[in-house]
């Protein structure tokens, strides 16, 4: 069970958070312009990396804020935590 450093609250137990999957998948601004394949790419296709992965997390039982987190899925080491809208760090 990790300790996650919420950018708004500080270090908290993982049980307070929920994971929202891969980060930086932007909802298309003009979905109607997309064909089925392009839309499916946004809707369904997600990476499942063994290694460094960028993820969305929500402090669900805390401040309820969403933020991004960089985690190595092979050892659960968290490399960085940053707010929504901020530029992802280079890892």
């Amino acid at each position: 069970m990790f300790i996650i450093n919420c950018p708004y609250c500080g270090e908290r137990d993982q049980s307070e958070f929920s994971c929202g999957g891969e980060a930086h998948i932007i909802r298309p601004k003009q979905p109607t312009e997309l064909n089925d394949d392009q839309w499916a790419e946004y809707l369904f296709m997600r990476k499942n990396i063994k290694g460094v992965q960028f993820e969305r997390w929500n402090h669900a039982h805390g401040c309820r804020k969403w933020f991004n987190l960089v985690r190595d899925t092979s050892n659960d080491k968290i490399h960085a935590v940053y707010k929504m809208g901020e530029k992802p760090p280079v890892i």
Partner: protein
């Protein structure tokens, strides 16, 4: 003292007699004994039967690795517990233990027949034999296996004991109270670090605390004496908490650990006094030092499982700790020096002992010690067979060939009543790997040792592969200093003398004169798998250790292969001709030793299992005989039976009353989200399928919410309270998820929108009154209000006062009747409800529950998200095209509504179903078919909602059917167990299609 209690030790109080029973017979032991040591002191070795062949088995170890001595405790009481290891449980006055897996009795065992037919039960036997024919599984194979297996009986009554959970934080957690743990804890605590030391036994000291051999000396004292002093020093340290009888269950990432403390297990039943039985500690430690120790390996040879064959070091512990000699005529069979300590100990107490060693020689000080004492040693020899059925009587030994692959010379038979075996030591790396640590293989003594890269935990002592006393003490001191960044260890100048092993030799499967197929060389004693099972699995093509393990069930019993995993790996490596280090190990999973369910759930039992949510009107419902239904965590009135009515009768009455006069429903559980901000209407436009910008202040609108994949997610009515202020309602079960989803979009996709969401579900109580007389009742409650259709039309809301308390009245309907919902601050909910009941008395206002609500809405063809939908229904499938805006550029899920899959015409679509026999009520969930004689029968849909409608006087149902939109009037079938029900596809609005009743 009994014949076998030959020694007085300071660990066992021989003035405190304890009596207990084993298999119904009374025995005596002393305070401090485990069940195993007490049984051995009475000369009892035979404690169970093996799982597959039902061979007699005896106590084999003195710890958590025990595969054989598995007992049922206090059978036929509410305290009964199966699968308790006799080597771990402390005896107490009145303890009743019995052997397991030995029907009909320990001494006469019908399953022993399996022993003779064992050539027929090879690896994978269960997979191969019991697979076919399928129909045999339930009636023949499964009962057969269950009867002959019988791994203990579960309690039949609720567990009367109390369990607890507690969180703990510390700077340093030390796991294991052996010599390395004690050194570590002392260094940490003396350097102002908040330290916890946990030890699973009842006293500290590990195996050093009874190490009285003169070859092991620290600072001029025998190592046990030195350690005894250290422990008394330790107990004076303020920063240190010592928890004995506490075993580590799991070591998770980020140094989060679970440890189980036994608080009252060792107390007699009448002294437990309602105290907590076990406590699960949830520890978050800054640094963890693991000193978990090592487990002695057995040796693998023919018939190595007889009662009386015990691990050599366990024999030493029974002797030097408990004062019990496992046998009076002992043979030590070893491949290493450590077993000589046992031999010397036995000899010094005047007990007969001989040694069989597979090595050609060894010249360390402990060997010299044994030789000087005149102990007979058979070098370069191996045991090829053992004799004695219920207890070992003799062994046969032969010389090993030059390369160890064969036996030579003559057989030599030697009498004995105990064979103490030692195949070396396996570091307990379980904790290290559980936390994510990797292992390295050390070729010289064939062990996996932690490969340390983790900056927040280290391994010390024998679990780190340090087996010699000098190494243990000095390496622990140095490692802990570096790890905790400390200059003075306190043990820097210590002097240690010890015997050092010079010769190492290991043979995973010892050779024999007879062919392998005729031997029984056990690897996993609890699951009865042998060396030849492993080889068979390899011949059949299994390669991965994980597959071999599952196929042969090696390492899959309750001991999780603590004694067997290394031998399985070794034999695989030897057979396949590969290096053992390249095979890797199987995964070590928590818990390290089995945990009780009680410890896992702690206090979360009974009414503390989950949160129960009640509305402010709840007590009234109870007083009025409501039956409740769980909706998420909410308790909702299901129906209100009068005079012994059943569910059906009550619902028929309630439904008629709601349509004919007036019904009242507690709708407080519906989710309510307060939405404010200058972009609130734009936000609603994006999350609902229909348009919201033009909704006037004071108006209400029904909305449907989709997932991005186009599937219906939730629905509800939203009211515009002000220019920038809305109140959204959601389904009862969906409230929390909807709020999360909306927050997600607001924070991550549309941060530019000025919108604020607040959950107000619990803030307001909602009373819904429906029926043709509802308007008259509202008029009585709010005499100053104009309830005419012009002043207060359907789908609108008004503020109002009742007894000077503010409330909101919405004229909305989920039943198709004229209907009002009144929202009031929760604390006034009950008083408002009772005012409504009073005002409605003259109209026989009838409280109704969720079941009637469901029936009424089904008559009207309104869906329930989650009942008529299942996450695969689009609004088009539900024939709700009317609510999907064509004009809006975008909303959540819009693009998905015309994907190739969602525009298929043969998707399941919502329809009505009428049974040909109007009195026949379909079962919800029943499958629907169009052709009965097609093989296989094609299921084209299923019933989602079904009721007998008292208002239409016939059975009605909603269903989803492939291509159902175009099937109106078509005949279909609902096949049931004993009959086929004929149905006709109909419109799904059964009542008042013209919406006349809403304005009645």
């Amino acid at each position: 003292m009994t014949k076998y209690r030959i020694n007085k030790t300071r660990f066992i109080d021989q003035t405190k007699n304890v009596s207990f029973t084993f298999d119904g017979k009374t025995y005596h032991g002393f305070e401090g004994d485990t069940l195993a040591s007490a049984l051995l002191s009475n000369g009892i070795h035979l404690v169970g039967r093996s799982f597959k062949y039902h061979r007699p088995r005896g106590i084999m170890s003195c710890g958590s690795e025990e595969p054989n001595a598995i007992c049922q405790i206090n059978n036929n009481t509410e305290y009964t517990e199966p699968n308790v290891r006799a080597t771990e449980i402390e005896i107490y006055e009145g303890l009743k233990a019995s052997s397991q897996n030995c029907w009909p009795s320990l001494n006469f065992d019908i399953g022993g027949v399996n022993n003779f037919i064992s050539p027929l039960i090879p690896a994978g036997f269960y997979y191969k034999t019991f697979m076919w024919p399928k129909s045999f599984w339930k009636k023949i194979y499964e009962p057969l296996i269950r009867m002959s297996a019988g791994l203990g009986k579960s309690p039949t009554k609720p567990d009367p004991e109390i369990y607890d959970h507690k969180h703990e934080h510390c700077d340093v957690l030390v796991i294991g109270g052996g010599i390395s743990g004690i050194i570590s804890a002392k260094i940490a605590a003396k350097n102002n670090l908040k330290t916890i030391l946990i030890e699973d036994k009842n006293i500290l000291g590990g195996s050093t605390i009874y190490q009285n051999n003169k070859n092991f000396v620290i600072d001029g004292q025998k190592s046990n004496e030195w350690l005894t002093n250290e422990i008394s020093e330790l107990q004076k340290l303020d920063n240190l908490t010592i928890k004995t009888r506490t075993s580590l269950a799991a070591f998770h990432s980020y140094n989060y650990l679970l440890a189980k403390e036994n608080i009252s297990d060792h107390l007699p039943l009448d002294k437990k006094d309602g105290s907590i039985r076990q406590r699960l500690w949830k520890i978050r430690a800054d640094k963890v030092i693991v000193g978990a120790g090592a487990i002695e390996r057995p040796l693998i040879f023919n018939n190595n499982d007889r009662p009386g064959i015990i691990l050599a070091h366990s024999v030493k512990k029974y002797l030097d700790f408990y004062g019990v000699s496992s046998g009076l005529n002992n043979i030590i069979f070893t491949n290493n020096d450590s077993a000589y300590e046992t031999a010397v100990s036995l000899f010094e107490k005047g007990i007969s002992v001989k040694i069989v060693d597979i090595r050609k020689k060894s010249s360390s000080s402990i060997i010299k010690n044994a030789e000087e004492l005149g102990i007979e040693i058979y070098w370069n020899s191996t045991v090829i067979n053992t004799f004695g059925y219920k207890k070992i009587k003799s062994i046969e030994i032969m010389n090993l060939s030059e390369d160890g692959s064969n036996v030579t010379g003559n057989k030599n038979k030697i009498q004995c009543d105990c064979l103490a075996i030692s195949g070396g030591w396996t570091p307990m790396v379980h904790m290290h790997t559980q936390s994510g640590g990797k292992l390295d293989f050390r070729e010289i003594d064939q062990v996996f040792v932690p490969s340390e890269k983790n900056e927040n935990h280290i391994n010390v002592g024998s679990c780190n592969g340090d087996f010699e006393l000098e190494e243990i003490v000095k390496n622990t001191n140095n490692k802990v200093k570096t790890f905790l960044n400390i200059n003075e260890g306190g043990f820097d100048k210590i002097s240690v003398l010890c015997s050092k092993e010079s010769e190492k030799k290991n043979i995973w499967l010892l050779p024999n004169t007879i062919s392998e197929s005729k031997t029984k060389s056990f690897i996993d004693f609890q699951n009865d798998s042998t060396a030849k099972d492993i080889k068979l699995a390899l011949r059949e093509g299994f390669k991965s250790i994980e597959h071999v393990k599952r196929y042969t069930t090696t390492g899959m019993a309750t001991d999780q292969g603590k004694l067997s995993n290394m031998h399985a790996l070794g034999i695989i490596a030897d057979t396949a001709g590969v290096k053992m280090g390249t095979l890797g190990t199987t995964t070590f999973r928590p818990p390290f030793t089995p945990l009780t369910f009680g410890a896992i759930v702690g206090r979360s039992v009974g009414k503390f299992f989950d949160v129960v949510r009640k509305t402010s009107i709840h007590e009234w419902h109870i007083q009025n005989n409501a039956k409740f239904e769980n909706v998420g965590q909410w308790k909702r009135p299901w129906y209100y039976p009068i005079n012994n009515e059943n569910l059906y009768e009550a619902v028929q009455r309630e439904s008629k009353a709601a349509r004919n006069s007036a019904g009242i429903l507690d709708a407080s559980t519906l989710g309510k989200i307060d939405i404010q901000g200058s972009d609130a209407s734009e936000f609603l436009n994006r999350v609902y399928t229909n348009a919201w910008s033009k909704l006037g202040i004071g108006k209400c609108r029904y909305g449907l919410m989709l997932n991005e994949d186009g599937m219906v997610y939730d629905d509800g009515v939203t009211t515009r309270l002000g220019e920038n202020h809305f109140l959204m309602t959601t389904t009862t079960g969906g409230a929390a998820n909807v709020l999360s989803k909306l927050e997600d979009y607001l924070q991550t996709e549309w941060p530019e929108l000025d919108v604020y969401l607040t959950s107000v579900t619990d803030h307001y109580s909602t009373t819904s009154i429906c029926g043709p007389n509802s308007k008259k009742i509202l008029k009585k409650l709010f005499p100053n209000k104009d309830f005419s259709d012009e002043a207060f039309p359907h789908m609108s809301y008004q503020d109002a006062l009742i007894d000077k308390i503010e409330c909101r009245i919405m004229r909305i309907s989920f039943t198709g009747e004229l209907s009002y919902e009144i929202n009031i601050e929760s604390k006034y909910g009950r008083s408002l409800w009772e005012s409504c009941i009073k005002a409605g008395e003259e109209y026989k206002i009838t409280p109704y529950g969720t079941e009637t609500m469901h029936l009424l809405r089904a008559e009207k063809g309104f869906i329930i998200v989650g009942q008529d939908t299942d996450g695969t229904m689009t609004p088009i499938d539900l024939q709700m095209d009317w609510i999907v805006s064509k004009k809006k550029y975008d909303f959540i899920g819009k693009r998905s509504l015309y994907r190739s899959d969602t525009i298929r015409e043969d998707r399941k679509q919502l329809v009505g179903l009428l049974t040909d026999d109007p009195n026949e009520i379909l079962e919800e969930g029943a499958q629907i078919v169009s052709e009965l004689d097609k093989n296989p029968v094609e299921m084209i849909g299923h019933v989602t909602s079904s009721y007998f409608s008292p208002n239409l006087n016939k059975s009605i149902a909603l269903a989803v059917v492939k291509g159902g939109k175009k099937m109106k009037g078509q005949k279909l079938f609902v096949p049931m167990e004993n009959k086929n029900i004929n149905v006709t596809v109909s419109d799904f609005i059964f009542l008042d299609k013209e919406n006349k009743r809403i304005n009645a």
